[in-house]
């Protein structure tokens, strides 16, 4: 009985010592998951997922803190590809979050724009040009239709139109 206890305890201690050691010695591998996840997102930075941008959301997913169905612009397709990458279940897209789709762009109505310049810093992709007190314009080719600027226009003269119109 005593022997048994000693032997087993010895065994346990020995093995755990090994574990602790290896845990020390092994180099922590660089975690590329977040990047892989991000590359599957639309990367239009609309923040509708509830994170400041695609990267933060990607990191949240990679860390397993966020569901994979929070990106409206990405749509079902993105959810599916994320599920594939991470071996998770496919979830229905969370449509409550927003409606941004990449086929629309913002357009500034020249007649109403007062050149307050507030929309410029908001645009995550610098798609709005114009200086103080002059009419601003959206570079359609850069605009992702993320809707962020809409809220910031005091005279709301920004609206979304189909991309090819």
């Amino acid at each position: 009985m005593l022997i048994g206890t000693v032997v087993l305890a010895g065994l346990a201690l020995g093995l755990c010592a090994v574990l602790v050691l290896t845990d020390r010695l092994l180099p922590a591998g660089r975690d590329r998951v977040a990047e892989q996840v991000e590359s599957l997102l639309p990367r239009i930075q609309c923040a509708q997922c509830g994170y400041p941008g695609c990267r933060p959301y990607a990191e949240a997913i990679a860390a397993g803190d966020a569901d994979i169905n929070r990106c409206p612009p990405g749509g079902e397709e993105t959810v599916r590809r994320l599920a594939d990458l991470l071996g998770r279940e496919v979830l229905a897209l969370d449509t409550t979050l927003g409606s941004a789709d990449m086929n629309r762009v913002a357009r500034i109505d020249e007649r109403n724009c007062i050149g307050c310049n507030r929309c410029v810093p908001v645009c995550p992709v610098d798609a709005i040009v114009g200086v103080q007190q002059t009419i601003h314009a959206v570079i359609a080719a850069h605009c992702t239709g993320c809707e962020l600027c809409l809220a910031h226009c005091p005279v709301d003269c920004i609206d979304l139109v189909p991309r090819d119109a």
Binding site: G4, L8, L11, A12, G29, D31, R32, V33, G87
Partner: protein, 193 residues
Amino acid sequence: MTELMLVIIGAALVNNFVLVQFLGLCPFMGASRRVEGALGMALATGLVLTTASGISYLVDRLLLIPFDLEYLRLLAFILVIGAAVQLTEQLTRKLSPLLHRVLGLYIPLIASNCAVLGVALLNSTANRSLIAALFYGAGAAVGFGLVLALLAGLRERAEFADVPKPFQGHAIAFITAGIMSLAFLGFTGFVRL
């Protein structure tokens, strides 16, 4: 040499651990959604299987039997396996984070993966030589990896099938596994042990 080959074939096909002896089913079902994941899991399990069967063999011969502590066998083996698994867990987490994400819960589960314990116990009861024990472990690992990969492939294809609603998801996976084990019955009587 031929015996050793027989040992491997026996463990891998004839008495396939998963489909015939019902060992290691949880990872079999859980890690077979994608072929990539399955291969990773196969590797991890193979690692644990062979190392664990080797070490526990030594523990058995050098510690338990001399002090006639056979009644501690389960305890000792499971301890060894647990350690081996934790080691694998560390390895994957640090060397392939993505795989670690994909396999998620299932790596710790190798610990309780019956296959591993099964190998260790069977080795000690069927008193083999160390080499034979290692081969047996390897054979089991091969068998496990094989059916895991096969099932993964089949499940990927089954996703395009038009399965009746109640059977979608896991149920059809079990049906598929069932037919696989039907097929593996063909190996019965292969190695007349």
